[in-house]
């Protein structure tokens, strides 16, 4: 068989999938079954650390120092995946399947030097191609890379998914399977709404919006990578029976490959933003500039913006920011309240952002009108709105989050 013509697939297993030895054995069985079901395919495996291991290592570091040095934190954290790849490789070897664990320096996963949150710059796929050509299965440590200086780096949240997608792109893989502890991507959070349905197919862009807007199954960075390099992703469960492609899970594909383009594909929510309102500010462009310049200077990330007139030439301006930045944002705005000639600033953390996402919005209008009518029927008032080509987000009081999700899901998805 000519290896260069054999399709490659990447199988990535998350922390709960390799959470203990019995699960690592299950992963080995799954890889073996996949191989048997499709002998023509070349498999590359990417692993996370055992669930809980990264937290254990972080605790060790925190016991040792107040503020762990990022370079050394990466050396410490990288041991987590090193353990799981060695164990899975030895398990496969014992089953008579040739397999080799590989660390980031061996695969030459080059990153910048932003320790604990590095970005992949390039992957030298030759090492993996050689192993694959020799008939063995490379078992690659996710989450880690190597800087130009030869130091270990880690990729931050969602890092193992990013490794998998980046490898799939470098190897021009047919598919990148993301095995996790849920059956796939749902139309909304099943814990909030029992009508949530498993999605068969979503586009990269929808998934990117859904991941950014609260769907936790994938990190937005890995979806962005998959979109940019047109890597077909499949999210599926390690613990469900079957492992043949196409049977289970959710496919994340290019928009052109969607059979149908529903108006709304998913309804998501998140609780991790805070709303700040500057009250009684002069309604002029100069004050606005001062406000947003001050926040930009402190690197505060602003999500939604709205303003509301309150009397002659005065407005209340509201913004939402990540909750962990709300203290910084509050302090920053308080410092310029006199300069702004505003009355003051308030912060509201008891909020939820609920979003509807769907590529169909590109082709159909009226989603906003339907959404507002639907929420009004439930007596839910909308505090802020934010839209893009394929999504619409509304800010509501947190206690109405579940009701808003269910109402919007019933309205658009059923």
């Amino acid at each position: 068989m000519n290896t260069s013509e054999s399709p490659v697939v990447v199988m990535k297993f998350g922390g709960t999938s390799v959470g203990d030895i019995s699960r690592i054995k299950r992963v080995a069985d799954l890889v073996a079954a996949f191989r048997q079901s499709d002998p023509g395919v070349r498999i590359v495996v990417v692993l996370s650390a055992m669930a809980g291991e990264t937290n254990r290592l972080v605790r060790l570091a925190k016991e040792c120092v107040d503020r762990p040095q990022p370079r050394e934190m990466d050396v410490l954290l990288a041991t987590g995946e090193q353990v799981t790849i060695a164990l899975l490789a030895m398990r496969l070897c014992e089953m008579g399947i040739s397999a080799k664990s590989l660390l980031a320096p061996q695969v030459r996963i080059s990153t910048d030097a932003r320790h604990t949150n590095a970005q992949i710059e390039s992957i030298d796929s030759r090492v993996i191609e050689d192993i694959v050509a020799a008939g063995a299965i490379p078992i690659v440590a996710g989450f880690q890379g190597i800087s130009e200086e030869g130091d270990i780096t880690t990729l931050g949240r969602g890092g193992s998914d990013i490794t998998a997608v980046a490898l799939a792109a470098a190897l021009r893989a047919r598919t990148c399977y993301i095995y996790t502890d849920v059956p796939g991507v749902f139309s909304t959070d099943p814990r909030l709404d029992p009508n949530a349905r498993l999605l068969e197919r979503v586009s990269h862009e929808e998934m990117l919006e859904m991941a950014s807007l609260g769907a936790k199954v994938l990190h937005p960075r890995s979806v962005y990578f998959a979109m940019r390099y047109a890597v077909p992703l499949v999210v599926l469960s390690t613990f469900a029976g079957a492992c043949s492609p196409g049977i289970n899970g959710t496919w994340i594909v290019r928009e052109e490959e969607l059979m149908e383009k529903p108006l709304v594909t998913g309804v998501t929510h998140r609780f991790d933003e805070a709303q700040l309102t500057v009250e009684g500010m002069p309604d002029d462009i100069e004050s606005m500039s001062k406000l947003f310049d001050a926040l930009a200077e402190r690197d505060v990330y602003i999500d939604m913006i709205s303003q509301e007139g309150v009397g002659s030439h005065l407005v209340n301006v509201s913004v939402t920011v990540p909750d962990e930045q709300s203290g910084l944002a509050l302090e920053t705005i308080r410092g310029i309240v006199p300069t702004l000639k505003a009355n003051g600033v308030t912060v509201e953390r008891d909020i939820a952002k609920v979003s509807v996402v769907g590529v169909g919005m590109r082709y159909h209008t009226g989603v906003a009108a339907r959404a507002f009518r639907c929420l009004a029927r439930e007596g839910i008032s909308v505090q802020m709105v934010n839209t893009s080509e394929i999504k619409m987000s509304v800010l509501v009081t947190r206690k109405y989050c579940e009701a808003a999700v269910r109402a919007l899901h019933a309205e658009f998805i059923g």
Copy 2:
């Protein structure tokens, strides 16, 4: 300061010295104090894994497979030192001392590919020299190397000591300090004989014999390395107060540097050999050859040999072998008993080998005579004897081991 003229010292800390976070903090304090006491010196640190961690990893592997694949075992085991070097480096950084953890591939500690028991072939000292020249302290992972194929290897028992000594040799270090949980090398095992005294100085060759003959504080391979490259070693306690060179511990130096050359420096013992006796074998060279050829073919390591006439042209031939090979040796000899025309073979595991070691034996005769007289006075019969230029070993029944050690220690050391 011209770095090339600043002396380098290697400080190696074993598993109990970095056994938990409070001990890692203590090691950081010790390194800081050493630096302050001698600012002209350049420090390189080598660490073991936390005590117990290697066993934990071995257990994980054994849960996962029956026979762990050596290449993957090395990937797994190497995580142990990676954790401790990261933690110590972040601790030193937080104390305001520039430090950098380094893994074997970064230091280019090249080994052969004998996984789990690799031999160091070369070290590229430039990386460490650069870090040291920049005023930082390299914190190097002990026990591990990298093969020509770019795979992680480990050095087997005593591996971290070997890393330390090899680095000291490559850097032409002034001294290699081996910090451990005992105050140094004793003239005999203090648990067996309260008269055991801490030795101030021993020669490399004495230490090599003592390590091979039962002194557990250093592995013979690291002593051999130190002897071959004339690296001055100091064995000392992490947990004693002082850390200035020359105050505590045992110096292991070239024989020429010994102030005095005592007849006997140490009395050691070990229990891990078994004695096999072939009974009633014809006393001719042909039978002897058959016996030793058969054992050599099965790679049985033979330590002591003796023969004793039992009637006309018949002898009993005894050998000692490592206890873990006694089953193999017994089976091998049993298979050739008819060919040898011997009466049979017996195995005796209830034995101890007691040795006296000292460079003074080179220059003085009569040690054997004094030792035999001394043991005879105690009513201890000697079953076998083995001598070299600087040591004499006797095999005794195990229950007499402690009495033999005490008697010989009193006779020669006092």
